[in-house]
């Protein structure tokens, strides 16, 4: 078996992936909301609230999607 299809590697890769994907979506969502608040609309704090919620949704969706591609062992 080539190492790239080794279930250990593939599983470890998925495990390492999901945590940071969640965090990064949260950062991006909150960050975009904050930028919209501070520089565009002056609607503090609503842009950030909406952005954070969207970020959480995007992060969970990413985690869900990469879990769908988990290697079948």
């Amino acid at each position: 078996m080539p190492p790239s299809q080794d279930p250990l590697y593939a599983g470890l890769g998925q495990a390492v992936r999901i945590g940071t994907d969640l965090l990064a979506s949260l950062i991006v969502g909150g960050g975009l909301g904050w930028v919209a608040d501070t520089y565009l609309f002056g609607s503090t704090p609503w842009g950030m609230v909406v952005g954070l919620v969207l970020g959480v949704v995007a992060g969970i969706r990413n985690a869900y999607r990469s879990a769908q591609q988990w290697p079948k062992t």
Binding site: S4, Q5, T20, A24, S25, V28, A58
Partner: protein
């Protein structure tokens, strides 16, 4: 004796150079990067120059490495992805050697600087965007609309997809940076405990330091591997819009 565990990450300019207000001074990280680049180049050239039918130690190591990277590309991108082989192999080997060299005491982990990882992530993500727009034109924006989305969900799905797209380079950069930094902070804390503990109890954290170093070698490999896999996945998404599932096996 009391040193911050973050102290090893500080960089001091060895040779200050300023180019039109731009700070391009030579520091430890730059020198280690040169060392890594020349090490990888020398090793690969030495391994490739023998070309024996029955490979020696170095040649079979290099062959394994190349086969490994080839396997990743074929799994995630399919045959078209092979034209990116040089880029992806370079990224993998550079990150792997940076991570491993950083584990030698007294050396420096270049990948624990977020500048370095962020540049790689932006390079990869920018390349995938350029590839996507070159191949698909404006239709590439369809990556923001997952297949099978009902029309009334679009105002919700497009911001979510936009966020998850923008999160890609950030998660690439942060993952590598955070893993390398955290590992070395733990090593630093444990080693500090070992030194301040003295002989009576200090052997215990010292033993942990050795165990952690072993674990860090594994993490060095896994982080280089996952960075490469995600590079392939992102580039593959730009290749076949929504169609990458049939290449997944």
């Amino acid at each position: 004796m009391e040193e911050s565990p973050l102290h090893p990450f500080e960089l001091h300019n060895w040779i200050p150079i300023s180019l039109g207000g731009l700070d391009i001074s030579i520091n430890k990280a730059v020198v280690i990067m040169w060392v890594v680049v020349s090490l990888v180049a020398v090793l690969m050239v030495m391994a490739g120059s023998a070309r024996k039918l029955v490979p020696g130690k170095l040649q079979s190591m290099a062959e394994m490495m190349v086969d490994f990277i080839r396997g990743i590309i074929m799994d995630t991108m399919g045959k078209e992805g092979m034209r990116f082989f040089p880029l992806i192999a370079t990224l993998f080997l550079f990150i792997l050697f940076c991570n491993l060299i950083g584990l030698i005491p007294g050396s420096y982990t270049v990948t624990s600087q977020i500048v370095v990882t962020a540049v790689f992530a932006c390079l990869v993500y920018g390349l995938s965007l350029i590839m996507g727009f070159l191949l698909h034109g404006v239709k590439f924006l369809g990556i923001l609309v997952p297949p099978g989305t009902p029309a009334w969900l679009l105002p919700l799905m497009i911001p979510i997809e936009l966020i998850s797209q923008l999160a890609r380079p950030i998660s690439l950069a942060v993952r590598l940076f955070a893993n390398m930094t955290a590992g070395h902070v733990i090593l630093g804390v444990l080693f500090g405990l070992a030194i301040s503990g003295g002989l009576l109890i200090g052997w215990l954290p010292f033993a942990f330091t050795i165990a952690m170093n072993g674990l860090e070698v594994g993490i060095a490999f896994i982080q280089a591997y996952i960075f490469t896999v995600l590079t392939c996945v992102y580039l593959g998404d730009a290749f076949h819009l929504h169609g990458h599932d049939e290449h997944a096996h």
